[in-house]
């Protein structure tokens, strides 16, 4: 009975996500004229497949296995379902009928419909088969995938973005280093800080300190202060320096009492 409920919910979820992922991906080919929803790596990878249905399909398939293993192991689909599997399989299906990418893969309407169908199939499959997999496979997946994903997200990605920021010029390197270090301490991961550093650095390179870049800088600072406060970073920092925590700070935290 539970499996039937899971299946019905999966059909709805898969349809929603697939529709938006397909439409968003097709709009990427028309960005920045049209605001799109997707990812740079998706755009790059879809271009790399050069409109060949077999390439799109097998590229999606590789990541489908990855997603399947991760779902089996930890119940997590991986971001690849929306980034790679749905867009590439939708593209592959459309290209079977018509080889011209501008009439198929770049058309948000066709991609949305194909994406919705693929999404329903993929999400239902992943959610219903995960419970049917032997335990030893799940243990292996967790043992292998979790440490690898941890390393990727906590070490590798920050370094790649950081080095890219440093190579992109003095200003983005400077701000990426400052915000990256702060965000590693405050948010537990350096990537958001480095990305903000690149935004600010390149923004100032191209525009100077105009109203837009100043507003962005203010927003970034507010972001750091707020997330630092809500993670209790201020108290931890004061305590780490062997100082007394002022009572008004403790009072402020008890107002918001976030566990």
């Amino acid at each position: 009975m539970t499996i039937l409920i899971i299946l019905l919910k999966s059909i709805l979820i898969g349809g929603l996500v697939g529709f938006a992922a397909g439409m968003g991906a097709a709009r990427m080919f028309n960005a920045p004229t049209v605001q799109a929803l997707g990812a740079f790596r998706t755009l790059g990878e879809m271009n790399a497949c050069e409109g060949d249905p077999a390439s799109h399909f097998s590229f999606g398939l590789g990541f489908f296995f990855n997603a399947w293993a991760s779902t089996v192991g930890a119940g997590a689909f991986t971001q690849d379902v929306t980034h790679r599997v749905i867009p590439n399989w939708a593209a592959s299906v459309l290209l079977l009928k018509d080889k011209r990418v501008e009439k198929t893969v770049h058309d948000p309407k066709k991609m949305a419909i194909a994406g919705a169908i693929i999404g329903i199939i993929v999400v239902s499959f992943l959610n219903t088969t995960a419970s049917a997999i032997p335990k030893s496979l799940q243990v292996t997946a967790v043992k292998v995938l979790v440490p690898a994903a941890d390393l990727l997200i906590n070490i590798v990605m920050p370094i790649i973005f950081w080095l890219a920021a440093i190579d992109a010029g003095k200003r983005s390197g400077l701000w990426a280093t400052i915000f990256g270090g702060l965000s590693a301490m405050i948010m537990g991961n350096a990537v958001p800080g480095v990305v903000l550093g690149i935004l600010i650095g390149k923004g100032v390179d191209e525009l100077g300190w105009t109203r837009i870049t100043r507003v962005m800088m203010g927003a970034v600072i507010a972001l750091f202060i707020l997330s630092g406060f809500f993670r209790g970073f201020d108290i931890q920092m004061i305590e780490s320096f062997k100082l007394q925590v002022p009572s008004f700070i403790n009072n402020m935290h008890s107002v918001f009492n976030i566990k």
């Binding site: 938006a20 439409m23 690898a148």
Partner: protein, 221 residues
């Protein structure tokens, strides 16, 4: 890529217009938020990486939601800013991590469980959140990108984003080799087959590790 320019883009139609963007984000967010509902209730179906879902899991198991909340919310914020400036809203950071992990963690940390435990409420919550996010981006675009020609380092981030995906394969093999010797051998064989077959080696490494792990099981300590 030149021929696409000749294609006529009707910016008034639903499929290409500015106003349909919030709707698209709303549909995506509804599905993703409901995916988090699935994970919360059935332990399967979250639209994110294992490491990020693990932060939410830490809170569900009685620990703190703080990590998931701060990580998700800050990613969401950064991506909204970036997305409106570069023309592509990063699905992973904004919706999958922000709406799918960060916002549920905030709601759960203040004890507001209904939007996550009730399926229909989760879809509605996601839809509303997506509409708000999409609306903000459409507004920011109106006042920033449409008034300047700056790219804000989009090319830098695009390059870095592309190259980070390539690291996963070798990382999986390294982590398989430290799990056990049979699993390590399995993942190397799988990766080699996928490499010769011209596929991303990450998939082969995982499959190989899982096949060998089925015959020579290890235990989670």
């Amino acid at each position: 890529m030149d021929e696409e320019k000749t294609m006529e883009i009707d910016k008034k139609s639903f499929w290409y217009s500015e106003w349909s963007f919030p709707i698209m984000v709303g549909i995506m967010a509804a599905g993703v938020f409901a995916g988090t509902h699935m994970y919360f209730v059935y332990n399967v179906g979250a639209f994110n990486e294992v490491a990020i879902v693990a932060m939410l899991k830490a809170g569900m198991d009685g620990g703190s939601y703080g990590a998931a909340a701060a990580f998700g919310a800050s990613f969401l914020f950064a991506r909204i800013l970036e997305g409106s400036l570069v023309g592509i809203l990063d699905l992973g950071g904004s919706i999958l991590t922000g709406v799918g992990i960060g916002i549920p963690a905030i709601l759960l940390s203040i004890g507001w469980k209904a939007p996550i435990t009730n399926f229909w409420l989760s879809i509605t919550t996601g839809l509303v959140l997506g509409l708000i996010i999409g609306g903000i981006i459409t507004l920011v675009r109106k006042y920033t990108i449409n008034q300047s020609n700056a790219t804000f380092g989009a090319d830098v981030m695009m390059g870095a984003g592309n190259s980070s995906g390539r690291f996963l394969g070798p990382l999986i093999i390294l982590s398989a080799t430290s799990a056990s010797i049979p699993i390590g051998i399995g993942s190397v064989i799988g990766a080699v087959i996928f490499y010769l077959w011209k596929k991303p080696i990450a998939g082969g490494a995982i499959l190989g590790a899982m096949i060998f792990g089925a015959f020579f099981p290890v235990s989670l300590k």
